[in-house]
Every structure is written in C-alpha cells, then in structure tokens.
C-alpha cells in the first residue's frame, strides 16, 4: 500500500509540486493584494541582506560608468574641439571679412567727404598694381582714357597728394608718385608761406628744394601745393617737414618731407579730371 502510494507520488510529483508552489504563490498574491505597503519580516530580512551587496555593486557600477563616461567625454571633447576649431576659423574669416568691409566703408566715406572738398571733378580709381622695380615709384590704376583719365592729371587721396598720371591707356593708367625722383611739385609751407619745389627722393620721402633761406621753416610744418602749374589744386597736403638742411651760406635751404600719404596702404585714390581755379577749403 505504502509502495503504491509512493509510486503514485513519484508519477504525479511534478503536478503535485506545481500545485503546491503555484497555490502558495497565488495565496501570496491574495494575502498582499489589499495590503501592498506591508513588509513581512522575511521581506525585510531579504532586503537587509541584499542591501549592502546592492550598494557595493551600484558604487562599482557607478565608478565604472563614470570612468566610461569620462572616456566617452574625452572622445566627444576631441570631436567637439575639432568642430569648434573649425567654427572659430570660420568665424575669424568672417570677422576679418566684416572688418575689411568696415574699413573699406570708412575709407570710402572719407573719400566721399574728401571728394566734396576738392573743387573739380574727381574720379575714384582703384590701385591695381605697384611698380615692381626698386628704382621708380609708380602705381597702376584701373581707369584710363576711356574713363577720362589723361596724362598729367593729379591723383589725390583724402590724406594728401599722391602723384600725377604719367601714362594712360584706354582702361588703365600709370601714376608717378610724389616720392619718385622724377616728380616735382610747386609747394608752400603752410605756416610761413615759404615756397619751394618738392621732389621725390626715390624712397618714401620727399625733399623740399629752393626754399629761400630767409624763410622760417620748422620741423613739423605742413607743406601744401601752391597751385602753380595748374596740375594740382592749391592747398593739397603734401606732407610734413621732418628734417631741415640749412647751410651757413647760399640762397636756399632744403628740408626733408614725410608725405602725408602712406603709399604702402593706398587702395583707392581720386584722379582730378577737371580743376577749378579756387582754393581748397
């Protein structure tokens, strides 16, 4: 009988266990269903036992995660750095472009203001070339005879006198700068009204010659065009006296002039295509 019972149990042990365990589980659901917040002693015990392990694993995981994040962050930072460098380069380029525009705008405004001051017709021109030799001081402008630019016309800038047109072709012209050996302009010292002849010295300076010895010339005196000869309007600034050479004998004195125009920075100039016989205000 006992053997038969054991045999039945062996045969049905799995369904038997299933019923027992599943019923217990269902009872567990049923018993807690209306009392979710209750924490049984066994639950509390499990939680307490598991807590330190969870804490340890969580800390380890977080540490690993932080390490991983830092690594990923570094990789991202590298990428971000490259992208930012590109952006900075682009913005710098843009900034330069805008600054250039602002400078150009300011320059053009000055030119416009200047052109209103000069009695006559002024043609704005762009410098497109500079003399490649070291002997001569000439520039090439982008307007020629087709635009009304002819030989001998004065070329000026808001800072002062630049030179005159040496040669003109239909679409461009060569301008002899006042600093060239071959340039000579009749000039007056603005303060003392001493007259003289301004010639280029082949470098970036000019020389005042044939100024009467008895006239008072001082360092820093402004030299302007006299208007004689008809090429340049009267009163255009040539430059400032930087050195005076006055010998103890002779009729004249000489002086060195620093041109008011910075030829290295010239970009736009005016050609005076028509002059009126009046002073510049």
């Amino acid at each position: 009988m006992v053997e038969k019972e054991l045999s039945i149990f062996k045969r049905y042990r799995i369904p038997f266990f299933a019923v027992i365990f599943l019923t217990t589980a269902l009872l567990s659901i049923s018993s807690r269903i209306n009392n979710v917040e209750r924490l049984a002693f066994i639950d509390w015990l499990f939680l307490e036992i598991t807590f330190p392990f969870q804490k340890a694993v969580t800390y380890s995981t977080e540490a690993l995660s932080d390490l991983f994040d830092s690594y990923v962050l570094l990789v991202n930072l590298k990428r971000e750095n490259v992208a930012l460098k590109r952006t900075v380069a682009k913005l710098r380029e843009e900034n330069n472009f805008l600054r250039e525009k602002a400078i150009a705008s300011e320059r053009l405004r000055n030119l416009l203001r200047f052109s209103k001051k000069i009695p006559g017709t002024m043609l704005p021109v762009q410098i497109i070339g500079i003399d490649p030799s070291s002997w001569f001081r000439t520039i090439v402008i982008d307007k020629g005879t087709k635009h009304g630019v002819n030989r001998g016309m004065a070329v000026v800038s808001p800072e002062g006198i630049v030179g005159h047109v040496l040669q003109a072709s239909p679409h461009c012209a060569k301008v002899l700068l006042i600093t060239d050996f071959n340039s000579s302009i009749d000039a007056i010292i603005q303060r003392g009204r001493a007259r003289g002849l301004v010639e280029g010295n082949g470098e970036n300076l000019c020389r005042l010659k044939f100024a009467p010895r008895m006239h008072d010339i001082q360092l820093g005196d402004r030299v302007v065009t006299s208007g004689l000869g008809g090429r340049y309007p009267k009163g255009l600034v040539i430059g400032k006296i930087s050195k005076i050479k006055k010998k103890s004998y002779g009729l004249f004195q000489q002086a060195e002039i620093i041109p008011s125009v910075n030829f290295a920075k010239l970009e736009e100039v005016f050609v005076i295509t028509e002059t009126h016989p009046m002073d510049i205000p």
Partner: protein, 166 residues
C-alpha cells in the same frame, strides 16, 4: 546542499546584477531577465523539488525588490519553471538555438501571465501596448543572452552538465 547554496548564491548575484548594473542601462534599452534564464536552467538541469524551490525563491526575491503586486513574480517564475520541465520532457534542449527559442517563448508567456494577473487584480487599463513595447524586446534580448548565460553557468561548473540536484 552545497550545490543548492551555490545556486541560491547565483540567484542572489543575478538579482543584484539585475537591480543594479542592468537597471543602470538606459530606459530605451531592453534588459535581459537573468532570473528567468536561471529558472529555465533549473528547469532543464535540476530536480523538480529543488528547482521549484529555487524558482519560487527567485520570484519571491524579485517581488521583494519589485514595486508591483506582491507574489506576481513568485507565481510567474514558478509557473515558468514547471513549463520548462514540461518542455524538457518532450524536446531535445541541448542546442543553443533551442534554448534561445525556449527562453524567448517562456519570457513571452511570463509576460502574458503577469499581464493577466495585473488585469485581474488591479484596475490598470489597456495593458496590451506594454506587451509590444516591453515584453517582446525584453524576451528577444533574454532569448539571445540566455544560451550564453547557461553556457557560462555550466562552464564555471556550478552544476555539472545534466546532473540533477539531489
């Protein structure tokens, strides 16, 4: 006894990993149910009584850490254990592909069990979308991880291959 203690330790370890490392993963990622894999393992390689006790214990421990209705995992995990025994008696379960398929199917069934119990005992409406949103991805990942996890347990010889727990 020693083996049973080792398996309890394994349950404990899996639970800790499940509630810490895997819980740290982003919400969007499906996470494998390590305890389910363990229960399938018990079902395949352990004796019915010891396995049922371990499955019950696993579910119980999961319930302790879970915020849901208490006993829901105890019931589902125990049910999965007995279903595994049923499968084991009828199919050859040693291939990885079969194990993956079994784990995937059992995970789906567990999802059904949980949804059914929730539907019966709590007034939560429209549980079906969660089946597609959570249970299928979770079952897929559990099915994929399952054979490797089982192989790992067998590799570390916690339970020699095919040897039932006495």
């Amino acid at each position: 006894m020693k083996k049973n203690l080792s398996l309890m330790g394994l349950i404990f370890l899996s639970l800790v990993v499940q509630t810490t490392v895997l819980a740290e993963l982003p919400h969007q990622l499906a996470k494998p149910d390590l305890l389910l894999i363990l229960i399938v393992y018990f079902g395949l390689y352990s004796s019915p009584l010891a396995g049922a006790m371990l499955a019950f214990l696993s579910g119980y421990m999961m319930d302790i850490f879970s915020g849901s209705i208490f006993g829901i995992h105890t019931f589902s995990k125990t049910a999965i254990f007995f279903l595994t025994i049923l499968i084991k008696d009828r199919f050859y379960v040693e291939t990885h592909l079969f194990q993956a398929g079994t784990i995937f199917s059992l995970s789906i069934i567990e999802g059904f069990i949980i949804i059914s119990i929730l539907g019966l005992v709590s007034p939560i409406e429209n549980l079906l979308p969660s089946f597609f949103m959570f249970i299928i991805p979770k079952s897929l990942i559990t099915g994929l991880v399952g054979p490797f996890f089982i192989a790992l347990i067998r590799y570390v010889s916690l339970l020699p291959q095919g040897e039932p727990i006495k």
